[in-house]
């Protein structure tokens, strides 16, 4: 279950406590996130919504170890990542996080196969083992027959499938999706969401997703709203569920 109220101990896969993020811009302090608490269990599928500038992507970056908070802690499967060195955090990301971006971010000079293989190049797997993993990942996203195609030879939906295959190929602890359907038409978006649902339902993946689209968000198990740096559950009205009791 997803919770935004717990600020004590829990057994959740992802535990966020008192998370703050402040940027300094033109000499002014801008507080993007204000004392967030969040618990996400294994197998949860959580959507984050909110207006532009509400801190959705900042939260995703912090959860993925791409950025460091101003205060607070993030623990994933028992690893407290907020105090890791940059190099340890890089290793941690390689093992625990699969990223799916809005603009796919594939390497244009590599084939679908080679793009999916990239995270495995950092492991000690043999060439044959890597091949097996890549083929499995591409089969899950239904692109086994496109593995030798370059990104420019694929449709937007297919490119996003390759991105998903790259995200799952190393079997990470959880997936972070930043507007995964934001650049797709409705039909392709539906296919991608069906695929993400399958990853959660059939393969037991934990997925945290940022989206602007209520239709897409509705397919998640839970939807959380970020407003002015504070998390609220979508189904509840704001004043009574301010995140973690932090005003």
């Amino acid at each position: 279950m997803v919770s935004v109220n717990n600020n004590g101990a829990s057994s959740a896969l992802i535990q966020v406590r008192g998370l703050n993020k402040t940027y300094r811009r033109a000499g002014e302090q801008i507080q993007v996130l204000q004392g967030l608490n969040l618990d996400v269990d294994k197998g949860d599928f959580v959507a984050f919504m909110g207006p532009s500038g509400s801190g959705k992507t900042t939260l995703l970056n912090l959860l993925g170890g791409l950025d460091v908070p101003t205060a607070g802690t993030i623990s994933v499967a028992g690893d407290e990542i907020t105090h890791m060195s940059a190099s340890k955090l890089t290793d941690w990301r390689a093992r625990h996080v699969g990223f799916i971006f809005q603009m796919y971010n594939l390497i244009p000079v590599l084939t679908a196969y080679q793009n999916v293989e990239l995270p495995l190049l950092l492991t000690k797997l043999s060439k044959a083992e890597r091949r097996s993993h890549v083929e499995t990942a591409l089969a899950i996203v239904n692109l086994a027959d496109r593995m030798d195609h370059y990104p420019r030879q694929l449709s937007g939906g297919q490119e996003q499938r390759v991105t998903i295959a790259r995200a799952i190929v190393s079997d990470p602890t959880f997936l972070l999706c930043d507007e995964p359907t934001g650049d797709l038409d409705r039909k392709s978006a539906d296919e991608i969401m069906a695929l993400i649902e399958e990853l959660v339902g059939k393969h037991g993946k934990t997925v945290l997703m940022v989206t602007h689209d209520p239709v897409v968000a509705a397919r998640a198990h839970s939807t959380l709203h970020l407003e002015k740096g504070v998390l609220v559950e979508a189904s509840k009205t704001r004043p009574s569920v301010m995140a973690g009791g932090v005003a």
Partner: protein
């Protein structure tokens, strides 16, 4: 090894840019090899000079002659092993453009003083018996297609009398690649017979072979002391110093060549560094994604440097290959100006080393920039 494909794929991303950068390296390394060869041709004699040879010239200038009678006195100085003498003939073979140095030699001592220039014994014997005999260096003989037995007319520019006729009795070879194989030797007796009375008994310079190189300063001083206050005072110095002074007549060739080379490589560094910087900047978001999925900062730096290094190596090899291929053409084309054009292996190795250094240096700054880039900033550029 497993990253090779990734590095190569990135290299071929912009083929025109790759070709132009490779071309920059190739041209620079070709120029490097050419300048090194020219430098070698100018100062090679100084580097090749024997440590146990001295040269004695007229103190006023090398164009002033000195008496042949000095020979006995020089031979009598302790530590002197052999003494030979030469004159500059300055003749023209067929056309002024066909320059090669012609020396009047003393057949009795030439081979003892210059043992590295080898003439087969049978050819040397024929030469000694033939008053009009001549020995040519292998390169000059090849250049003009001369064969032993050929009659060679050389027009004198210094001594009058039109063309002098010579019989080619032998061809000498150097024992080292850089040895000068362009000279033309003929006998003192024939020379003295034909020159005007006013210059008879006068030689251009002495070359002295000594027992121990360490004795060179003492012997040089002793030779010059012998002829102090005479009408023809002498100046004796080590062969290397003599050769170096000879080169100085052309100006500071070494400085000129090194300066040009430095400018070429500095420009190459700027060009390649700029190319790599643009290439990295274009890929900011891709590099950010690589970092996001677990590629370390050091690995990102390695990728950028590896790319510029591969360009440098292939461009460098291409340029040096072109230089090797062009050498025969250059040797023929420049034979009258620089007869001793040789491309030694050390120049190729040095050229490749310089290319590697430029390759690493040009990838270093963009690579460090990519290494330090924050992932979230890189991803914002998507």
């Amino acid at each position: 090894m497993k990253f090779n494909r990734f590095i190569l794929a990135n290299l071929f991303r912009k083929k025109v840019r790759l070709l132009l950068t490779l071309g920059s390296f190739a041209v620079a390394l070709f120029l490097f090899a050419f300048l090194a060869v020219v430098r070698g041709a100018f100062i090679g004699n100084a580097e090749l000079a024997s440590a146990n040879r001295l040269v004695t010239i007229n103190r006023t200038s090398i164009i002033n002659l000195i008496p042949l009678s000095y020979m006995d006195k020089i031979e009598g100085i302790p530590g002197v092993k052999y003494v030979t003498h030469n004159n500059w003939f300055g003749g023209i073979y067929q056309d002024e453009k066909n320059f090669f140095p012609q020396f009047v030699i003393d057949p009795d001592t030439q081979r003892q003083v210059f043992p590295e220039l080898v003439v087969p014994d049978d050819q040397w014997t024929n030469f000694l018996k033939d008053r009009q005999g001549a020995i040519a260096g292998a390169k000059t003989a090849k250049r003009f297609g001369w064969k032993i037995g050929d009659r060679i007319p050389i027009k004198t520019t210094l001594y009058g009398g039109g063309a002098w006729e010579f019989n080619l009795d032998g061809i000498y070879h150097g024992t080292r690649p850089q040895d000068d194989e362009t000279q033309f030797w003929f006998q003192w007796d024939y020379f003295e017979e034909k020159i005007p009375e006013r210059v008879k008994g006068q030689i251009g310079w002495y070359v002295i072979r000594i027992d121990k190189p360490d004795d060179a300063p003492r012997i040089a001083k002793a030779i010059d002391a012998q002829f102090d206050n005479s009408p023809n005072e002498t100046k004796t110095e080590a062969e290397s110093a003599f050769a170096a002074n000879w080169v100085k007549q052309f100006g500071n060739i070494q400085f000129l060549i090194v300066s040009i080379g430095a400018v070429v490589f500095f420009t190459l560094l700027l060009v390649t560094g700029n190319t790599m910087a643009i290439s990295v900047r274009e890929r900011t978001s891709e590099l950010a994604v690589l970092k996001a999925i677990g590629f370390s900062d050091r690995r990102i730096l390695f990728f950028v440097i590896a790319e510029s290094l591969v360009i440098a190596l292939f461009g460098g090899l291409l340029g040096l290959g072109l230089a090797i291929a062009a050498m025969p053409v250059l040797q023929v084309g420049l034979s009258s100006v620089l007869p001793n054009l040789v491309l030694p292996g050390s120049v190729l190795v040095l050229g490749l080393a310089v290319a590697v250094v430029v390759g690493i240096a040009s990838g270093l700054l963009p690579g460090i920039g990519a290494m330090r880039m924050r992932v979230v900033n890189g991803l914002r550029r998507v």
